[in-house]
């Protein structure tokens, strides 16, 4: 039975909670904890002064475990409490009084970089500015017959993992500390927690519990919960458990970056792109989580999978006093894809082409050169996936029919939309790309596989175990995947960027091959045959000519009898990327994947209600290690992307989160998800195990623009500001609640 972090308990454990910031932006003058400490049952109250080591961490280390100089968003923790019950802890939080000097809030990221705007961090409000420059943009526009310019915006959204953050920290028997948590990147958490406690890494052990979803969300947000529990455990010398409620989770955790995008494209008479200029602002919120990397993926992919001689892209990440923003499935691509794919439909409209024609005209083929100057050397299957998506959905016919006056003026209009994308696989030039795995065949022939790649529900354990089983020629019955802990498996980097299978799987394959090699050596020696002639297949060891040597189990027994334990470590490291940050040029990723989506919608033109009725998703995954898991990713991506397209928005007013539980933060239910079909294309890639690439993020990243383009086909009106809510579709704008809550404040009847 699965055990989640919140399911773990220990004798004598205490319960922890945080005292939240009272203002989104204020200097902290004084924190008085004396009243809180007097409460019976309170065992510890900590402020930043009690952190023995590093209180700050992150890519740019400005995320505070406990707010020190200032509060920067309302999810900041100013103090930590450990008490005998959670109720006592919360009561204590109410008795902490803090003196502040209130500062102006920076809410709109577009204001953040202005001269007169207050600086949220010492180094200023600019987190990062990435550029890509190709050709001569001015000349490109001069040559253009049509120039289209458009502003877009995409909202902050919540990951909405089913399991909120939780951790149990406890002092171990050797002056160390152990933390059980639901952590997406245990290796980062490990370093942050050890640094905060001022302990060597070897004295801190991070144990991964079964995870109830993450979607990129359980990085810093979960590390903070784990680090806070660890601080309290060290202070009280007792186990301390922190379990976030849904509201805690929504208030504290980072969101998807909201983007403000200005796109300006020029093309010739026929719609061939000649110039693409993109100016993008990303709201990093209060701190720097993954902003430099998220916006880097945006800058690399901002021009989409389209050929164009002249490209200029600027992406700036900026601080505000909103919730900080970080990794979320898609990681900087869903935002730009919205703009790219709507722009593409606008170009099509301008040049009297269908959405399919315009994409086939401009799309990458084999050997294409990207905006960053990378020549693509793998199978570029963009046109293949586009064609399949269009054929399976009868796109061209339906698209033409829907454009009739009759359809577009009916109360409920039908629409069909298309989009496509390419996506760099794994981390790319963001960082060192390596992963480790251990394959351990036990003396009875059962097999443990572990890897630093985390299973968050996506099925990494199954896929990785399958790869080991395939190499060892045995059935999945033998396999047991172990949750990793930091003392057992070496740093595998983060489980992000759709790199679980390609990198973790690659590592497992190497480890399993080493084990297979050991088995072959022992058998070759015993039977006096060349080890090269041996095969591991169908639970047996055979020679290439088909002669059976022995069963797998007997082979294992023999190895152990000969003093050869079957244990191996595998490391997959890929270093084929390079990047020049100054010029914005380079080989950004070692390989790419291609996908195309088609959506069908019904738009109620009198209420603005959009129903997504059918969805077709085509992806080149290199090789599907497990077909149903690939399909699972695709279906989940469609559901999640439907939310991004038509209903999700994490609403903050003056830094105050308004949608902090699922009564107000709407995600699609089963009845909102369209009928879905997936088509898997396989063009194996030399980098992946058995040719596998990735699917987790590709499955999501173009769902929203596909739906938005379908709305255009139905109504003749483009949506530029996500989500396509009732108001956005009907009125072309969002309406903001300016009072407490509609029903509470409406005028009583006389």
């Amino acid at each position: 039975m699965a055990r989640y972090a919140a399911d773990y308990s220990l004798p004598h454990q205490l319960y922890g909670c945080v005292k939240y910031a009272d203002y989104p932006h204020a200097e902290i003058l004084n924190i008085d904890i004396s009243e809180a400490l007097k409460i019976n049952g309170v065992e510890a109250v900590l402020t930043y002064k009690d952190v023995p080591g590093e209180n700050r961490f992150g890519l740019i280390p400005n995320i505070r475990i406990l707010a020190d100089d200032r509060t920067r968003y309302l999810g900041d923790a100013v103090a930590l409490i450990a008490a005998r019950t959670i109720e006592i802890a919360k009561q204590a939080a109410r008795h902490i009084s803090i003196k502040y000097h209130k500062l102006p809030d920076v809410i709109d990221p577009r204001e953040s970089l202005k001269e007169e705007t207050i600086k949220i961090h010492e180094e200023g409000n600019l987190v990062v500015h990435h550029k890509v420059l190709k050709g001569d943009i001015a000349r490109g526009f001069k040559q253009s017959v049509h120039v289209i310019e458009q502003d877009f915006s995409t909202p902050a959204i919540e990951h909405a993992y089913l399991e909120p953050e939780a951790a149990l920290a406890y002092p171990d028997e050797q002056d160390g500390i152990a933390v059980i948590g639901c952590l997406q990147n245990i290796y980062t958490s490990h370093k942050v927690i050890a640094a905060a406690l001022n302990l060597p890494l070897a004295k801190v052990k991070i144990i991964q519990s079964t995870m109830g979803g993450s979607f990129g969300g359980k990085d810093e947000a979960s590390t903070l919960v784990a680090a806070r529990a660890a601080l309290l455990a060290v202070k009280t010398k007792r186990p301390v458990k922190i379990v976030n409620s849904r509201e805690d989770s929504m208030i504290q955790s980072y969101k998807r970056h909201p983007y403000y995008l200005n796109y300006r494209w020029g093309c010739d008479q026929d719609g061939r792109l000649l110039a693409m200029q993109h100016d993008i602002i990303a709201d990093s919120g209060a701190y720097c989580s993954m902003t430099p990397f998220v916006t880097w993926r945006s800058v690399v992919q901002a021009a989409g999978p389209y050929r164009c001689p002249n490209v200029k892209t600027d992406v700036r990440g900026v601080y505000t006093n909103n919730n900080y923003t970080g990794a979320m499935r898609g990681f900087g691509s869903p935002q730009v894809n919205v703009a790219i794919e709507i722009m593409m439909d606008k170009i099509a409209e301008k040049t009297n082409k269908s959405p399919l024609e315009i994409r086939l005209l401009n799309g990458f083929g084999d050997g294409a050169v990207t905006a960053t100057g990378q020549k693509l050397s793998h199978d570029v299957s963009l046109k293949q996936v586009l064609t399949i998506a269009a054929e399976k959905s009868d796109f061209e016919n339906k698209w033409r029919q829907n454009r009739s006056k009759e359809n577009q003026s009916a109360p409920v209009s039908k629409g069909i939309g298309l989009s496509c994308s390419y996506r760099g696989v794994s981390l790319g030039a963001e960082g060192v790309d390596a992963a480790s795995a251990v394959v351990h065949v036990q003396p009875d022939g059962s097999i443990n596989v572990s890897s630093g790649i985390i299973d968050m529900g996506q099925g990494a354990q199954t896929a990785l175990a399958q790869i080991a089983a395939e190499v060892l020629g045995v059935s999945m019955k033998r396999m047991r995947f172990l949750e990793p802990d930091t003392t057992r498996v070496a740093d595998s980097g983060p489980t992000v960027a759709s790199r679980g299978t390609i990198m973790g799987g690659g590592a497992v394959k190497i480890a399993a091959e080493k084990v297979a090699e050991l088995i072959k050596e022992i058998l070759a020696e015993k039977h006096k045959i060349r080890k090269e002639s041996l095969l591991l297949k169908n639970e047996k060891i055979e020679t290439k000519s088909g002669k059976r040597v022995c069963t797998f189990t007997d082979a294992v027994k023999l190895c152990y009898a000969k003093g050869t334990p079957l244990f191996a470590n595998g490391v997959r490291y890929i270093a084929e990327t390079d990047w020049n940050e100054k010029t914005g040029r380079g080989n950004a990723y070692f390989t790419y994947v291609y996908g195309a989506n088609v959506a069908e919608v019904e738009v109620d033109r009198e209420t603005g209600k959009v129903n997504v009725t059918r969805f077709i998703s085509v992806h080149d995954v290199g090789k599907a290690i497990n077909k149903s898991m690939v399909e699972g990713q695709i279906y989940g991506g469609i559901a999640m992307g439907t939310g991004y397209a038509i209903m999700e928005s994490f609403i903050q007013e003056s830094g105050m989160a308004k949608t902090i539980n699922f009564d107000e933060y709407y995600i699609p239910t089963a009845l909102d998800v369209p009928q879905m079909e997936s088509f898997i294309v396989e063009n194996p890639d030399k980098h992946g195990p058995f040719g596998a690439k990735s699917i987790g993020e590709p499955a999501l990243e173009i769902v929203a623009p596909t739906i938005i383009n379908a709305i255009f086909n139905a109504t003749g009106k483009h949506i530029y500001n996500l989500p396509a809510s009732l108001e956005e579709v009907l009125l072309g704008k969002k309406l903001r609640r300016d009072v407490e809550r509609g029903s509470l404040s409406c005028k009583p009847e006389v």
Binding site: E87, K90, E606, T607, G608, K609, N611, M647, D663, Y666, P668, T669, A670, L671, D672, S725, L726, E727, L730, L731, L735, R736, R737, D738, V739, G742, S743, L744, C746, K747, P748, E749
Partner: protein, 286 residues
């Protein structure tokens, strides 16, 4: 907090008589428990459970009326033959509440007494002209549902009273009805707007009676008399129904003033009233 599980209605009434105002009754708990949690777990001193009280967990009929016990769950109402046969409008509204889980627990009495302006069953019941039976140790009162509300989240119930029965006249054969719910998604969604319509017309299509109600539109529940008056005596037609919709929208602005949501609600209320009338009069299927 003390939890009470009374065995019959009399015990309930005695308990609340003695414990009011430091007690609350709980039926399905789908509104009450949420609101307690929202108020930092401020529990009432006494919680009195209404679930499983036979007297108010049944549906029966008289010649003219269907009588529904307040503790009937939405799911029980949706599937009850008496409701399906005689007041299918209520079944339709109840069917669209929350999700299956919420309909299993949530009750019609809770929906009425919680007094939220967007309660789905209440819109239907207002259009059906429902009456309520309110009970205390001293007396049983019969009040009209339309007189039951003072303002959002507030009813005329006194601390020692509970709602026991909902009485609804059976719909005559040939009466048309419609319930339309508009939410931000297709399930587990609070109504942005809901509309219920009941119409009877002559063979030639002249409207004889009309009842209209809308949720999340007015601060206090009411029939939309002005719109109804516009309809009676006229022949069914889309233009007439649109006019009724516009009257409803004007009424809304008159009663609530122009609010943040008005630019959206004004045209959409009008449209939904029109659609409900089209459906109820058989001009539009679905």
């Amino acid at each position: 907090m003390v939890f009470h599980q009374p065995g019959n209605l009399d015990e309930v009434l005695k308990l609340i008589h003695n414990l009011a105002p430091s007690c609350r009754v709980i039926a399905g708990g789908t509104d009450l428990l949420v609101s307690i949690r929202q108020k930092d777990n401020e529990w009432p001193e006494h919680l009195i459970n209404l679930a499983d009280l036979k007297e108010i967990k049944q549906i029966h009929e008289t010649e003219e009326e269907i009588i529904i016990g307040a503790a009937m769950s939405h799911d029980e109402i949706v599937n009850h033959p008496l409701i399906k046969n005689h007041i299918p409008l209520l079944a339709e509204a109840s069917r669209q509440i929350g999700s299956q889980q919420v309909r299993n627990r949530g009750t019609i009495g809770g929906n009425i007494c919680n007094a939220s302006p967007c309660a789905d069953a209440v819109t239907a019941l207002i259009a059906l002209n429902a009456d309520l039976e309110v009970c205390s140790v001293n007396e049983i009162l019969r009040v009209s549902l339309k007189d039951f509300y003072l303002k959002p989240y507030q009813t005329i119930l006194k601390p020692n009273e509970i709602l026991t029965m909902i009485r609804i006249k059976k719909l005559q054969k040939g009466t048309g009805y419609s319930f339309i719910k508009l939410g931000r998604r297709n399930a587990v969604a609070i109504s942005r707007i809901n509309v219920a319509a009941v119409i009877s017309k002559s063979k030639t299509g002249v409207i004889k009676t009309a009842a209209l109600a809308a949720g999340s539109v007015f601060p206090v529940w009411k029939r939309i008399w002005l719109a109804e008056r516009e309809l009676i005596g006229k022949t069914v037609a889309e233009s007439l129904f649109m006019e009724a919709g516009k009257i409803t929208a004007r009424e809304m602005i008159e009663k609530t003033g122009r609010r943040w949501s008005t630019p959206y609600k004004e045209p959409v209320v009008a449209t939904l009233v029109k659609r409900a009338l089209l459906q109820a009069s058989g001009l539009l299927l679905e």
